[in-house]
Symmetry: C2
Subunit: 925 residues, 2 copies
C-alpha cells in the first residue's frame, strides 16, 4: 500500500486489484482480479498498471530503447514474483522446480494491434532441464521452449517471424514429416538450437538467460506497443480517446498446461447455448492440448458433453463454475478453462455474444430465475439486434458465395425468378410465382411491381433511394446500388462478371448483407417468438414514447398491429395512387386540360380512396390513423420523358411498317380477280397507331411542362393542394366519408388529417377551410358528428421557425425528418449518397449518414426549437416523427429526450423501436 | 364642445378641427382645417367626423335607406351651416343671395371607390334665379345647375350617368353644336329641365328643392359609400385595416368659382419644379374656368409664369402662398387654387410628388435653406426611388409602345442589335456594336455574352433566373420571362405576334418596366449628380451599417467604388471561370481523368486567377475584398446534354458526308490515267471528324456522370472543395499570391477568403488546413507576412444551427440569403417562380416574393439565431449579408436591427442601400 511519501502502487496481485478499475488494470487484468477474488481457480498472477505504462512511455521518446522502467516498478514486480513463487511453490529460474509465466497486454478496451502473448517465460537452458526432469516429458518441454523462443524473439525482440518459420520448415523437411504432432523431442531440441542462433545472430548477443531480465524486456515491449503504429492507427480509426483507454496494463500469470497428459485438457465454454439461449452448458474441449491448438484448428475439439464421460468430476466442477459465473456476473458468460493434471483453472471470462433469439430467450429466463430485473433484461439487448429475428435470413451455415454485393438496403432475404419490369412482376406474382424485381433504379410507377415481388435489386441508388425506402416500408428485402451488375432492360437480362441473369432465372437476395446469389439459397425463417412478444410487452410498460407504424394499406396496417404498433403514424396516400387500377385515373387527373376534366377523374378516385381509408380505419380500430394528403410532385406519376421518347420512336417505326403492309395488302388484292382473292387481311389499323402517337405526344408535352429543375424543392405537398384545391378536397372528402361510414357502423376510430410541406400558417389555414367545408357537407349527408384531428408535417425548415403560429391551427405536429434533413444540410439525398456523402463519412467530416442517423446537432436542434415554440402556443400539442429516423434507436432516444409523444416507422422496425423507446426511458431514469 | 352629458362633437368648423387628426376628420378635412388655421384663404366650411359615419353605418344594415343620421348630427350640421352663412354673408336657400356648397368624402387614407364630389349644392329653382340676378350671368348659373343635378342624381341618388349624358348629347345634336363651350344659356336651361325630369322619373317624386334636405341626402350617400362594394374590395386588396382608416368624413365647403369672368381663374401649383427640383413656382392655370375644366382637358392651361403678366397682384399672392406653404409644411407642396373675381383661395395642398432628381435636389436645398434637418432630408426620400437616377431609362415623353412585356428583371434601358448566342454577342460586341442578347434562358456558359451586351432578353425564367441575377449583378438591363416571345435559336430569330425580330435588328429593352420595343427608342441618361453624392455622404454619416458591393472583376470593383461601396463583400470566382479564354481550361479541369491531369489544367488557371485577384485588390485598395471559393456544381460549366446530343447528331451526319466524298474522290481519281488527273482534292479529313465525335462523346459521358437530380442541393461549394482539394488549393494560392504581390508593391489591402455551402465546422476546419499550408508556402516564397481574414458563407440552414461552432474557425460570417431562403422554404427559386409563387402572392399566402424581400419571420429568425450563437462564441465576429436582399431597403433595415455589420449588393444598388442604411439608423434612434 502507498503512503504519501512512497511512489504510487504500480503492481497489483490478482488478490488485491480492483476488479472494476479497467482504466488502471486494463480489461483483462481487472477481470483476472475479479475472478480470483470471487474464488474461481485462476492461476496466480499480478497486473502492472496502465499508469506504469504511461510513466514508462513518458520517460523517453521515439525508439523504446531510450525509455526505461523505473526501479520502483521493477522492485514491485520482483516483490510480486516472490509472492507468486510462494503461492505456486515454484521458483523463477529454479533449475529443479521452475516457475513459468505468461505475459499479456490488456488495456481498458479490447484493441487489436498491440503486443501478443508471450508464453512460458522463465525457460532457459537450466530451467528447461529441470522441467524435463520434473515432468519426465522432454517432448513437451522442448515444445514449450521453442514456442517461448519464437514468441519472445518475435514479440519482444522484433525479429521477423518468417526467420523462425523458415527454420522450422527446414527441420520438418529434413525429418520428412508433415504434421507438427509428429515432431520428436529430438527434432524439437534441434529447432530450439536453431532458434537460439537466430536470436543471437539478430541481437549480436545470446538469448537472455536470466528470467528476470526476460521479464523486464517483455514488460517494456508490451508497454512500448501502445505507441506502435498499428495501435495508434487503430485508436484513430475508431476514435478511441484517452478517456476511453489510456495505456496498456501487463498481466503476468503463472503458466498452467492443458497438454500435460490425458488428465489435462483445454477448452472454451458458454454458460448457456449462444445459438438458442437454452439453459445448459455449451462448449468444446481438447484433451492433452494447449489453448492455441484449439484456435489453430490442428485437432477437432469435442463437444463439452463428452467431458462428462471422460472426466466426470471435472465436468461437475465445470457445471459449478457455470453457475458461479452467472450468479456473479448476472449475464451469460463465455469462458476459457484449462485442466492441468486433474485441476480445473479458469483463465478468462466475459459476457457471451449470442444471436438475437438467444438474447431474447435468456432475457426472459434470467428474469424468471431472478438473476436480473426486467429493466436489466431490456437493457442487455441492443434494439438493432432484433432485426435478425424479424426477417427471414440466409441460413448462416450455407457455403454459397454471393456473385455480387450491393448496399444492404432493406433487411431480410428472398429467392425468386428474376423479372425486369413491374408489369411482368405483377403478372407473374399473381400466379403465385416468387419474383425478384431487377431494375437499374425504380420509380414510383414501379410500385405495383414491389407489391408483387419477394425482393428488389437495383444496380443504382443508395440506401435511401426510392427502391430502398419503399422496400423498407413494405418490409421486403432490397439490395440497392449493386454497381457490378449491368442491367439491360431491353434484352431483359443482367450481367455480372461472366454470369448472365436472364429473365426467369432464380436468384436470391440478402437484404441484410447486400449479397446477391445465383439460384436458391437455403434460408432461416423469421422468428417472432413468444419470448420476443413477452420482452416487448415489458418494453411497452417501461416506455414513455408511443410507437406507431407507417402503413399505406390495410395489409400494412394488419402487419403493423402484429408487430405491436399503437396506430398508423403515417399513411402516404400517393402510394394508393400508384396501384395499377388507379394510376390511369391519376394520370387522367394530371393531364386534364381544365378543372372540369380534372374533377371527372377525381370523381372516379373518390370512392376508391374512401374504401382504402375505410378499410384501413377498420383494421386499425380503435387506434389512431394519420393520413397525409398528397405529397410528391405530380410529374412523379407520369412516365419519364426518356421512356416517352423511346415509345414514340417505336410507334413511329410501327406506323411506317403498318403503312407498308397496307400498301402491300392492297396491291395483292388488286392482283387477283375478286372471286379468286386469297385470304389477305387488310391492316386498317394505322389510325389506331396514330392515336397512340398523339396520346404519347400529349403526354410528353405535359411531362415537359411539369418538368422541374429541383423537384425536391418544387411544386408539391400543400403547394399542390392550394393550386389544385379539387385534389385535396377529394382526399379530405374520402377520409371524412370513410370516417362517417365507420361511425355509422359503430367502429371506434381516430382519424387524423395531415398536411405535408407546410411552410406558413396561411397554407394550413387554407386547407383547414377545405376541411371545414367538407366536414359540414359530410356531417349533413351522413348525419353524424365527425371527430378527427387536423395537423401538419414539420418537414420544411420554415415550419420549424413558425411552429408557434402553426400550432394555432394544428392539433398535432409530425416531424418529417427525411425532407427536413435534406433542407437543413442543403443536400439532396440522392445526389449526396451517390456523390460525396460516402467520402464525407470516410473522412469523418460527418460521423454518420444523416439520412440514417438523426443529426441531433443540426436537424435535432431545429426540432427542439419547433417543439418548444409549438408547445408554448399549445401545451397539449401532440408531436411525433414519421421520417425514417423514427425507427433508429439513437434517434428514438433523442426524440424521447426532447419530449416527443410518438415515433412512427415501417412495420418491421416497430419491435426495434419499442425496445429502443424502453431503453430511452430506462436510461433516463 | 362636449360635456360628459352631451353627445360627442361630430362636426368641426375648419377653424376648430385638429389638423393632425386624420383618423377623425379624414385626410382632406384635417388638411382644410390646418390650412384655415394657418391663415390661408380657404373657403369657409366644416367637417362631419368619421365617428358620425360609423355611427350612421351601425344604425342599420345592408341598404342605406334603413340607416338614419341621428338628429344630434343634423342639429350640429345646421348650427355649422348657420355659422357658414354668417361668415359668407349668404344664406342657404336664400333666393337672393344663396349659399352654395360642395360635399366631398375623405377618409384617413386616400382611397378610390368612394363617393365623388357634389358641387353647387343649395341650388334649386328659387336660388337659381337669385344667383342669376346676383351674377347677371345666366349661362354660368344654368351650367352650375345642370352640373349639380347630374352629380347629385348620379352620386347621391344612384341614377345612371348614362341617362344624363344621353339627354345632354340629344340637346347638343338638336342644337347642332359640338363643343360644350358653345352651349347657350337657353340650351343649358333646356338641359336642366330634362335632367330634373330624369330625376323625377327615377325617384317617383320631384328633385328635392330644400337645400337642407339635399345636404342630408348627400351626407348619407357619402357615409354609405364607405361600405360600397368598390370601397370594400379596395380595402381588402390593399390590406387597409380599421386602424389605418375607419369610416369616411364629409367635408362641406362654400363654393368659390373660377369661372366668374376674366378676373377669375383656377389652377394647380408646385412650390418647386417637380421635374428638376428648381426653386421656383411651377404650375398651370386657366382664366375664367372651373377646376374640372383643367382636368377634363377641354382647354389647354397656361404656364403659371404668364399669370405674372395677366394678374400681377395675384401672382404676388401666389408667390407668398408658396413661401407660406413650404415654411409651414417643410416640404414641397402641390396645391390647388381658385381666383374668384380677384380673390385668391387655396383649396387643397399636399406633399408634392417629384422624380428622384428633384427629390434629391430639394433635399439638399431645403437643408441649405434651413427648412429641414439633414435627417429629414434623408428620410423624405424612399431609397428605391434612387433607382431612377442610376440607370439610363426610356424617355418618359416617348409615345412608342412596347411589342411585348416580360418581367422587369434588372433596371435600366438599352438599345442594340438582336443577337441569339453569347459567342456572336462577344464577337459583335468587340467591334463596338451595341448588342442585345436574346435567349430562351441563359446558362453560366453564356456569361461572356453578358459582358459584351448592352442588355439581356429571355423568354423564360423569373426575376431571379440566371439571366436576371447576373444582369443585376452587372448592372445591365434585363427583361426576363417575356413569354409572348418565341425564340428560335436555330433560325436565329424571335417572333412576337406578327413581328419577327431577326438577328441584327435593333431592339430596345426597358428593364425597369419589362417593356420590349422594336427599333431604337429615345433614352434619358443616368444622373449620378453632385446633389446625390452630397446626400449619400450625409447618409453614410448617419448609418451604422456598412455598404459593400458584389463585384466579380476589377471593372465591377471600380464601378462599385464610384457608387460609394466600402469594399467588395462578394467576389464570385466562378464568374471569372466563365470568360471565353478560361472556360476551355475549366472544362479541361472538369473532364480530367485523374488528379494529375486536373492539376495540369489548374496550373494554367493559377496565374490567370492570381492576376484577377491582384487587379481587384489594387482597384479596391485599401478596402476589404471578400473572395468566395468556387460555389456552383461543376456540371454548370459544361454544355447541356441536349446540346451535346445535337452536336453529335450533326457530326455523325458530317462523318457520313465526308466518307461519301472521299469515296467519290477516289473513284474519280481511278477513272483517269495519272497524267490526265483533274484537280480533285482528296478529303482525308474523316479522322478529324472522328476525333471531334470522340471528344463530344467523352464530354457527354462526363456530363451524364455529373448529372444531379436536384442540382441546388448537390455536389457544390465546400463539398467540391473537399472532394477535389486541388481546385480550392489553386484558388487559395491565387488569392494569397495576389495578396503577396500587392504587399511587395506596398499596396494596402484587406483580402478575405470565404467558403460557400458550409454545413459543419469540420468542413471549415478542413479548408482552413489548406489555407494554412498554402499560406506557409506563399510566405516563404514571397518573403512576406500575409494578413487576411478567413470566414464562411451562412447559406445552409445547418450552418445557422451550428453557428456557435463555426464561429470558432471563422473570422466573419456572410449570410447567403438566396440559398438560405430556398432551403428555409424548401422552394427551388426557379420552380417556385415559374409555378406557384405568383399564385401564392396573389392569394396572400405569401405577402412578398421571399427571394426579393427577406422573409424576416422565417429566414430572418434563423439569421437572428445564427448571429446570436456566433457572437456568443466570438463577440467580435464580423457579420454581413451578400444575398440579393442586401440591396433591398426593408431587408437592409432588418439586417441593421438584428446587428449585422455590413450588407453587400450589386454595384448599382449601392446608393439605394446607403440611403436605406441611413433610414434604418435614423428610424431606430
Amino acid at each position: 500500500m502507498t503512503t504519501p511519501d512512497s511512489p504510487p502502487q504500480t503492481v497489483y496481485s490478482f488478490h488485491d486489484g480492483d476488479g472494476k478499475n479497467r482504466q488502471l488494470l486494463g480489461g483483462k487484468g481487472a477481470n483476472l482480479c475479479e475472478m480470483t477474488q470471487i474464488g474461481l481457480n485462476v492461476p496466480p498472477g499480478f497486473v502492472i498498471t496502465t499508469e506504469a505504462c504511461l510513466e514508462y512511455l513518458s520517460s523517453g521518446t521515439e525508439s523504446h530503447q531510450r525509455r526505461h522502467l523505473s526501479t520502483a516498478v521493477m522492485d514491485e514486480v520482483r516483490t510480486h514474483i516472490t509472492a507468486l513463487e510462494k503461492e505456486s511453490s515454484k521458483r523463477f529460474g529454479d533449475p529443479e522446480n521452475p516457475l513459468l509465466v505468461s505475459v499479456r497486454s490488456g488495456s481498458a478496451l479490447s484493441m487489436p494491434g498491440m503486443m501478443d502473448t508471450i508464453l512460458n517465460l522463465g525457460l532457459n537452458q537450466e530451467t528447461l532441464q529441470g522441467l524435463i526432469q520434473q515432468t519426465g516429458d522432454a517432448r513437451f518441454c522442448y515444445d514449450a521452449y521453442r514456442r517461448f523462443i519464437q514468441l519472445f524473439g518475435h514479440v519482444a525482440l522484433r525479429i521477423s517471424d518468417e526467420l523462425f518459420d523458415q527454420a522450422f520448415r527446414t527441420i520438418k523437411q529434413q525429418q520428412g514429416i508433415n504434421s507438427d504432432m509428429e515432431l520428436t523431442a529430438e527434432a524439437l531440441e534441434q529447432i530450439c538450437t536453431r532458434f537460439l542462433n537466430i536470436v543471437e545472430h539478430h541481437l549480436g548477443e545470446p538469448f537472455p538467460e536470466d528470467p528476470m531480465k526476460q521479464l523486464e524486456i517483455a514488460i517494456k515491449a508490451v508497454f512500448g506497443s501502445w505507441m506502435g503504429k498499428r495501435a495508434i492507427d487503430y485508436r484513430r480509426e475508431f476514435n478511441i480517446t484517452p478517456d476511453m483507454a489510456n495505456g496498456t496494463a501487463v498481466n503476468i500469470v503463472t503458466m498452467v498446461f492443458g497438454n500435460r497428459g490425458n488428465d489435462s485438457a483445454t477448452g472454451v465454454g458458454f454458460t448457456r447455448n449462444p445459438g438458442t439461449g437454452e439453459n445448459q452448458l455449451f462448449g468444446e474441449y481438447l484433451t492433452n492440448a494447449q489453448g492455441e491448438d484449439v484456435v489453430a484448428g490442428i485437432r477437432t475439439p469435442k463437444p463439452i458433453t463428452e467431458l462428462e464421460q471422460e472426466m466426470p468430476r471435472l465436468y461437475g466442477e465445470l457445471q459449478a463454475l457455470r453457475t458461479r459465473l452467472e450468479q456473479h456476473y448476472h449475464e451469460i458468460q463465455d469462458f476459457e478453462f484449462t485442466i492441468e493434471q486433474g485441476v480445473l483453472y479458469c483463465l478468462q471470462t466475459r459476457n457471451g455474444k449470442m444471436n438475437a433469439q438467444a438474447m431474447v430467450k435468456t432475457s426472459i429466463d434470467l428474469v424468471k430465475e431472478r438473476l436480473i430485473s426486467r429493466e436489466q433484461a431490456l437493457l442487455r439487448i441492443q434494439p438493432e439486434m432484433l432485426e435478425q429475428m424479424l426477417f427471414p435470413r440466409i441460413d448462416p451455415t450455407t457455403s454459397t458465395q454471393p456473385v455480387a454485393r450491393g448496399l444492404p438496403a432493406s433487411p431480410g432475404a428472398a429467392s425468386g425468378q428474376a423479372v425486369f419490369d413491374a408489369d411482368r412482376a405483377e403478372r407473374l406474382g399473381r400466379t403465385g410465382t416468387p419474383v425478384i424485381l431487377i431494375r437499374e433504379e425504380t420509380k414510383p410507377e414501379d410500385i405495383h411491381g414491389f407489391f408483387a415481388s419477394q425482393g428488389i435489386l437495383t444496380s443504382r441508388g443508395g440506401k435511401t433511394s426510392h427502391a430502398a425506402v419503399v422496400a423498407r416500408g413494405m418490409g421486403k428485402p432490397c439490395v440497392a446500388g449493386a454497381e457490378e451488375i449491368t442491367v439491360d432492360i431491353r434484352k431483359r437480362e443482367a450481367t455480372v462478371g461472366a454470369h448472365t441473369i436472364c429473365e426467369g432465372d432464380t436468384i436470391t437476395l440478402n437484404g441484410s448483407s447486400g449479397g446477391v446469389y445465383l439460384g436458391e439459397v437455403p434460408m432461416v425463417e423469421a422468428e417472432f417468438t413468444d419470448a420476443l412478444k413477452n420482452l416487448l410487452e415489458w418494453a411497452d410498460e417501461a416506455s414513455r414514447l408511443q410507437v406507431m407504424a407507417n402503413a399505406d394499406s390495410p395489409q400494412d396496417g394488419a402487419r403493423a398491429l402484429k408487430y405491436g404498433a399503437m396506430g398508423v403514424g403515417l399513411c402516404r396516400t400517393e402510394r394508393m395512387f400508384n396501384a395499377t387500377d388507379r394510376l390511369p385515373i391519376v394520370v387522367e387527373m394530371i393531364v386534364a386540360e381544365d378543372e372540369k376534366q380534372r374533377q371527372l377523374a377525381l370523381d372516379k378516385l373518390l370512392p376508391i380512396q374512401r374504401d382504402d381509408f375505410s378499410s384501413l380505419f377498420r383494421v386499425m380500430s380503435p387506434h389512431p390513423v394519420t393520413i397525409r394528403l398528397l405529397d410528391p410532385p405530380i410529374h412523379e406519376f407520369l412516365p419519364s420523358p426518356e421512356q416517352l421518347q423511346y415509345d414514340l420512336q417505336q410507334l413511329r417505326q410501327l406506323r411506317g411498317t403498318v403503312s407498308g403492309m397496307n400498301i402491300l395488302a392492297n396491291t395483292v388484292q388488286n392482283l387477283f380477280p375478286a372471286d379468286q382473292l386469297p385470304h389477305v387481311q387488310t391492316l386498317a389499323e394505322s389510325h389506331l397507331v396514330d392515336e397512340a402517337i398523339q396520346q404519347k405526344e400529349t403526354m410528353l408535352n405535359k411531362v415537359n411542362l411539369l418538368h422541374e429543375v429541383n423537384p425536391m424543392l418544387g411544386h408539391r405537398g400543400v403547394r399542390l393542394g392550394i393550386t389544385y384545391p379539387e385534389i385535396y378536397t377529394m382526399q379530405i372528402r374520402a377520409i371524412l366519408e370513410a370516417a362517417a361510414t365507420c361511425m355509422q357502423d359503430g367502429v371506434p376510430i381516430e382519424p387524423e388529417i395531415m398536411v405535408p410541406q407546410v411552410s406558413t400558417d396561411k397554407e394550413l389555414r387554407r386547407i383547414k377551410q377545405y376541411v371545414d367545408e367538407v366536414q359540414q357537407q359530410v356531417e349533413a349527408q351522413y348525419k353524424v358528428k365527425l371527430k378527427f384531428k387536423f395537423g401538419t408535417m414539420i418537414e420544411v425548415v420554415r415550419a420549424c421557425m413558425r411552429a408557434d403560429s402553426l400550432a394555432q391551427n394544428a392539433e398535432f405536429f409530425s416531424f418529417g425528418t427525411n425532407d427536413l434533413t435534406q433542407a437543413t444540410f442543403s443536400f439532396s439525398r440522392e445526389d449526396a449518397e451517390n456523390k460525396f456523402l460516402p467520402m464525407y463519412n470516410e473522412n469523418k467530416i460527418l460521423h454518420d449518414n444523416p439520412f440514417e442517423v438523426l443529426d441531433t446537432e443540426g436537424v435535432g436542434k431545429l426540432m427542439k426549437l419547433a417543439l418548444q415554440w409549438g408547445r408554448e402556443t399549445k401545451p397539449e400539442l401532440k408531436i411525433g416523427i414519421c421520417g425514417e429516423h423514427g425507427g433508429h434507436p439513437a434517434s428514438i432516444r433523442f426524440c424521447d429526450q426532447i419530449g416527443l409523444d410518438y415515433v412512427s416507422c415501417s412495420a418491421p422496425r416497430v419491435p426495434i423501436a419499442r425496445l429502443a423507446a424502453a431503453h430511452s426511458a430506462l436510461l433516463e431514469s
